[in-house]
Symmetry: C2
Subunit: 622 residues, 2 copies
Amino acid sequence: MTASISKGVLEMINITFLPAEIVIQVPVGTSILQAAMLAGVQVVSTCGGKGSCGKCKVQLSTEIPVQITETEKKFLSASELAAGWVLACQHLLTQDRVVRSQEQKDVYERKTDFAGVQHIKVAPRVRKFFLQLSKPNVEDQTPDWERLMAALPVEGIQFNRTVAVSLPRVVRLGNFQITAVLDGDRLLAVEPGDTSGRSFGVAIDVGTTTVVVYLMDLNKGTVVASGAVTNPQQVFGADVISRITYAAGSPDQLRELQAKVISGLNGIVAQLCQEHGIARAEIYQAVVVGNTTMTHLFLGVDPTYLAPAPFIPVYRESVEVRASELGLDILETGTVIMLPNVAGYVGADTVGVMLAAEADRLAGVSLIVDIGTNGEIILCGRERILTCSAAAGPAFEGAEIKYGMRAAEGAIEGVRITEDVELDVIAGGKARGICGSGLIDAIAEMVKVGVIGPTGRFAGGPDQLAKLPALVRERLRRTERAGEFVLVWGKDSASGEDIVLTQKDIREMQLAKGAIMAGIMILVREMGITLQEIDRILLAGAFGNYIRKESAIGIGLLPSLPLEKVKTIGNAAGDGAKMALLSTEERARADSLVKRTEHMELSTKKEFQAEFIKGLDFKGVD
Amino acid sequence: MTASISKGVLEMINITFLPAEIVIQVPVGTSILQAAMLAGVQVVSTCGGKGSCGKCKVQLSTEIPVQITETEKKFLSASELAAGWVLACQHLLTQDRVVRSQEQKDVYERKTDFAGVQHIKVAPRVRKFFLQLSKPNVEDQTPDWERLMAALPVEGIQFNRTVAVSLPRVVRLGNFQITAVLDGDRLLAVEPGDTSGRSFGVAIDVGTTTVVVYLMDLNKGTVVASGAVTNPQQVFGADVISRITYAAGSPDQLRELQAKVISGLNGIVAQLCQEHGIARAEIYQAVVVGNTTMTHLFLGVDPTYLAPAPFIPVYRESVEVRASELGLDILETGTVIMLPNVAGYVGADTVGVMLAAEADRLAGVSLIVDIGTNGEIILCGRERILTCSAAAGPAFEGAEIKYGMRAAEGAIEGVRITEDVELDVIAGGKARGICGSGLIDAIAEMVKVGVIGPTGRFAGGPDQLAKLPALVRERLRRTERAGEFVLVWGKDSASGEDIVLTQKDIREMQLAKGAIMAGIMILVREMGITLQEIDRILLAGAFGNYIRKESAIGIGLLPSLPLEKVKTIGNAAGDGAKMALLSTEERARADSLVKRTEHMELSTKKEFQAEFIKGLDFKGVD
């Protein structure tokens, strides 16, 4: 009985493992358990094949009879035996066979308001192979590296110095039984003994404001844990342009920005690893999304020419680098995969959204909107995928708004105005400010009751004021510069100050939503359809999760479609990264999605200005 | 007129450049000069194609008539014009053509006692391409990386982060004219403007005792300069076993050894670069030879299991790593190519020797010997290449010898004994000690006059002593432990002390030469020939250069063949590294040489002990 794949001498047979559909050639006389290990198929065995744990259950088709052993009678029920269940350690393979391993949780489940539960078949590019190497002697002085290559069922592997450095030690520590970690045809690591049951990766979403890490179990296709921190580049400015400006200053400043974001990510990785008993060297791959500026800065490549027209990125297609090149604290030889960007202002995060929303598979016409500092807009259908980026500015994220804040504790996130103003405050305490969804809600309600007109101006004439409920009218007051509307009186606010919306705040929101709507209109026109021909609107991102759809439609941020056609899809950018990490097929889809995508550069569209101005009014658009 | 290779739009023609036989596709209307630059063919032009320098002479076949310009009449003679010489900047290509560039010094000349001058066609894997990139605008937002890829006449280039980091700056610094540096299909660097005239590499010979760097001009195929320093690992022991022992102590100690040798090499590189006005980033490739232990330590891979039987290396085949992984101070993305090893004690240095000696092309049977701490022996002919390594110990390098020293100033390098002792001392001053070639000479002469017998014992009986000339007899004296022979009286030595050869010194030499001869005998027997069927003996290495052939044959270190059959081939290991650096073909030959080589592990040969004992006597072996 031999566990090594010796080539040539022995008769070889083909063993197919279901449900993974992995086929492996092994010599006659290999046990099912060994074949499974060689194929990288996870079959649980805690006794190492001694027949004492009874855990390595697999199912054989019952057409070929097998001799049931006493051990199996001890561990398996009569009905299990009748159904073809056997213990993988008890049977030597003598002919081609199909073996079904116990149902693993090998689909990744993605839940959204939109698709219910989406199932992704888990088939990551990272694979682990448990190997028995031949032992050397004076007649066989084959070097360790060649011994390893001979045992691996994958050809064409290049020399990896980092693996070679410790290879002799690992090989002898494992008494010539080792587990090799492959990423495609790249050998990432060797580990002593059988570690095929443990395999991890990280999906990373580098946001301008927040960076998020999802630690994924690559065997099970589950999220082990996730963590987020503020992007430490924030100290160089809240928006991408200030970061580009800083990076353009000198190569050192560019490196500084890169180091910042990496250190933020490393902090999360360290914490997740510690909390879940995982070593960073067990994280073999990272898939990264982010807007084009963030992905450039993550890689440390110069984003200078993204800022001025014609907005030229350094790279666009999916690229891969070694973790050690970036200083990212996963296995140092591990691969960092950047999902492709579409253009200077439509980045890999949008590609993640397209992937998670299945932009290439949706029936009819879908409008997908991810609102942030930039509104990335995707219109897909009629065999086309169109994208554009509308510079909305930071208003939706609460910046440039007098009492604006991020959607955190104390933020007003919902507003209703009837006889007076009613508020929803995040976490329920006293209000500290107002976040993006609260702003949209507030403006929609203010327009509805007449505090502001559709042009965005505060009610001023006596007729206009007379129509307002008394308590509401009290809240509208003149200031030196313009009007303002008191959302919260000082006595009810956390700071004791009045929380107000100023005329300027309203103008900021107008500009922001006008830019988004202009982008939508240009894509719709390019596709040659009307707004009413859109079958669904999908809102991506945290912002999309929180806004009241009626309000967004009411103020003309989104087209006037029946509410049931508007769905949220959550953090779809991160979901896309997870999907690409768990499935080579999904990753390839990301590349093909980008190849099909037609990007519209709004600054070259002469109709943009007209659409923008049309979009400024606070009123429904159909 | 366009210098970019735009694909598809324009009609493409094939231009063949001789003598390099490089064929390139360019659009109709490309100038000959631009085509040459795109093809990486060096055509000298100092005015950049303005027609003012007259240097870019190339020759066209005269069948297709060309219109001679006034500029050409100014710079070219009537006979040149009649022979088809034109200025490359003056003519746009409109059809397939063959262009001959001026004869460059494109062969590398290797001079040895053995082959006279060997000519290697210079065709390094590193190539430079001068490119005109298309300029971006709002209608063409192609990223810089893709713009570069479109202009490069090589497909399938992978993303290189280090290049991408500075790409935007380099591209704009060169006003979209850049030179790309490729190593095969790896993009190593981009440089602003046209730098195709400058391209360098280093050939490195990592000896246990001395490390040598040859700085090579990859365009011209010449050695710009070379430098050597003592291997800084010396502080951990003079021989490979002490270094392996230290490295085996801990991963940190292994890293320490690696850092030592790299720092020694970096010191040489820095000095050569400074002296010759070359930037380290202009050194694009390194080819490294050394014994198996030294190449393992250079890479920082664990050599522990090279020391005990069965002497298992980590790797054997040629491997490549990035310079930055090792800390070697050449271009950080530059490739470091390790020539293959044969076995644990027949390393890449021996492969270099085989390459330089053309072991696969020599007529008849050749014995190639590289004597050092280990004697690497190659026997090639009869369609076979046999190798073995004989552990000679450090005696030939002067270690373990009472007054032994390296072949440096003050070393006795030649000895003749007639009525008295006559010496040759390196640099001519007073003697300080004796080096390996001096030792061999001294022993050969001592045997000849009867100071020692063939068994190595000092003359003792009155008969034996009586036969010695009086002045010689005076030099032979008894000591407490055994006899000793005074080579230099204190009054004539640098230190004032007598310089003597002890009985123990003689025994050390016996063991050393016995091991070498046993190795030779085992290879000869394996090939099924007699010593007299050897057509030539080639002596590699510094040692081989200096020993008196008669003496080496006289004491039985080499077989007794007519002197004219014994040739020296100099530092053939380093020459092999240079050849592999300058020519992809030579490098491939190194790999195929190793595949053909049959290595004999002497420790497994039961006849070794008998041969070793037979080889101990100081007498000719035929």
